[in-house]
Symmetry: C2
């Protein structure tokens, strides 16, 4: 049995959920209030964060390491290509979203608007929100520039890079922070990912106090 | 020809330098004042950071992606093991240092003490320095706990996990922020890494205004 300790609007958890679902691995989701860590949770994970994946006596942390491990142990369908050049590009884009996009956008919009309230840390800092709202435009333009040259973010096949980017964007879309009118190319790419069966679990997420907008779960947004 | 745009006391650049040196790949080092990005630099690297590796018309960024790419294209000596379980552990520990250790220690000590001065951003924030000085103890203890069970950080062979950890610790050692007396196990591990020929280039680094302590380049510290 596979169990994932997660938080619904965590892009890192969503990345693992998408990978598990693409591999058709059944998982029991356990919501973890990681900001109120219990001794039990810290024993499972000294880094004190989600996602944590439990499978066959193993406790795995760090989303990128988990996803690559799942891809190596359950190779079908492959989310990492074989060619080293494309593998590099997949990993570069995963880092781009997990580091740069996360620091400039996810943490500035999602964490200010949602996590702060859920964790009772006060009101959103409007300077951060303004910064994030500005930077997401640059990132959408960067994606559009890439997707004008390739079918998918790292090349001509769908890879972990696409699921990583979609994990971040889907969290921001939940709070209506993605302007899909900015680029038809990016919107088309997201529509393709969003309509995959693996995405269904994400589209069913509900965070109390934050009802998603109507377009969030709509495949024809 | 391989060229690396770098900053001497960047753990991410050091990780790439160690990987190149282990693979016996000759590299021209170009110091990049990445906090004063020139249009030329931003064209090379839209993420606006170091390291940037130029090889055969390619421009590569993101240290983990670069190191895994180098390991896949120049497989000897291998810095990634073959077994998926150990590969997972290598990547988990790389993330541990590049994310958690970086956020809690490297950015709090090195960036406050060195980068702020070099970048003319003012004086170290004593709250951050105090926090980092406290957290490094936890991380050294965590390493000791791991190294009491295994010869190297991810298992019984030396991997990218060891070079990633050593890249961070070597930067902190340059400013005397590592208490090597805390754990004989960790000190022994570092002595083994430090005496490798690949480490020589790091031990020769000099940052103007920050002379390294005598023990920094001493293999018998």
């Amino acid at each position: 049995m596979i169990r994932l300790y997660h938080f619904p609007l965590s892009p890192f958890c969503r990345k693992v959920r998408l990978t598990l679902a693409e591999k058709k691995l059944e998982v029991e989701l356990v919501e973890e209030r990681y900001w109120e860590p219990s001794p039990d949770f810290l024993r499972r994970n000294p880094a004190g964060k989600v996602p944590i994946l439990k499978m066959e006596q193993k406790t795995l942390s760090e989303s990128q390491a988990i996803c690559e491990y799942l891809d190596e142990t359950f190779p079908t369908p492959a989310l990492m290509p074989r060619d080293p050049e494309v593998r590099y590009e997949v990993r570069r884009i995963c880092s781009w979203f997990d580091d740069k996009f996360h620091a400039e956008v996810t943490s500035k919009l999602l964490y200010e608007r949602v996590n702060k309230k859920v964790m009772k840390l006060g009101y959103p800092d409007s300077k951060n929100v303004k910064f994030g709202a500005g930077r997401i435009k640059f990132h959408l333009d960067y994606m559009a520039w890439i997707l004008d040259q390739r079918r998918w973010l790292a090349g001509d096949i769908m890879t972990l890079a696409d699921f990583t980017a979609a994990a971040h964007l889907s969290c921001l879309d939940y709070i209506s922070d993605v302007d899909w009118n900015r680029s038809a190319t990016v919107k088309d790419w997201y529509a393709k990912i969003k309509s995959r069966p693996s995405f269904r679990t994400l589209l069913a997420d509900q965070v109390p106090g934050f009802p998603p907008p109507a377009h969030y779960a709509d495949l024809d947004f």
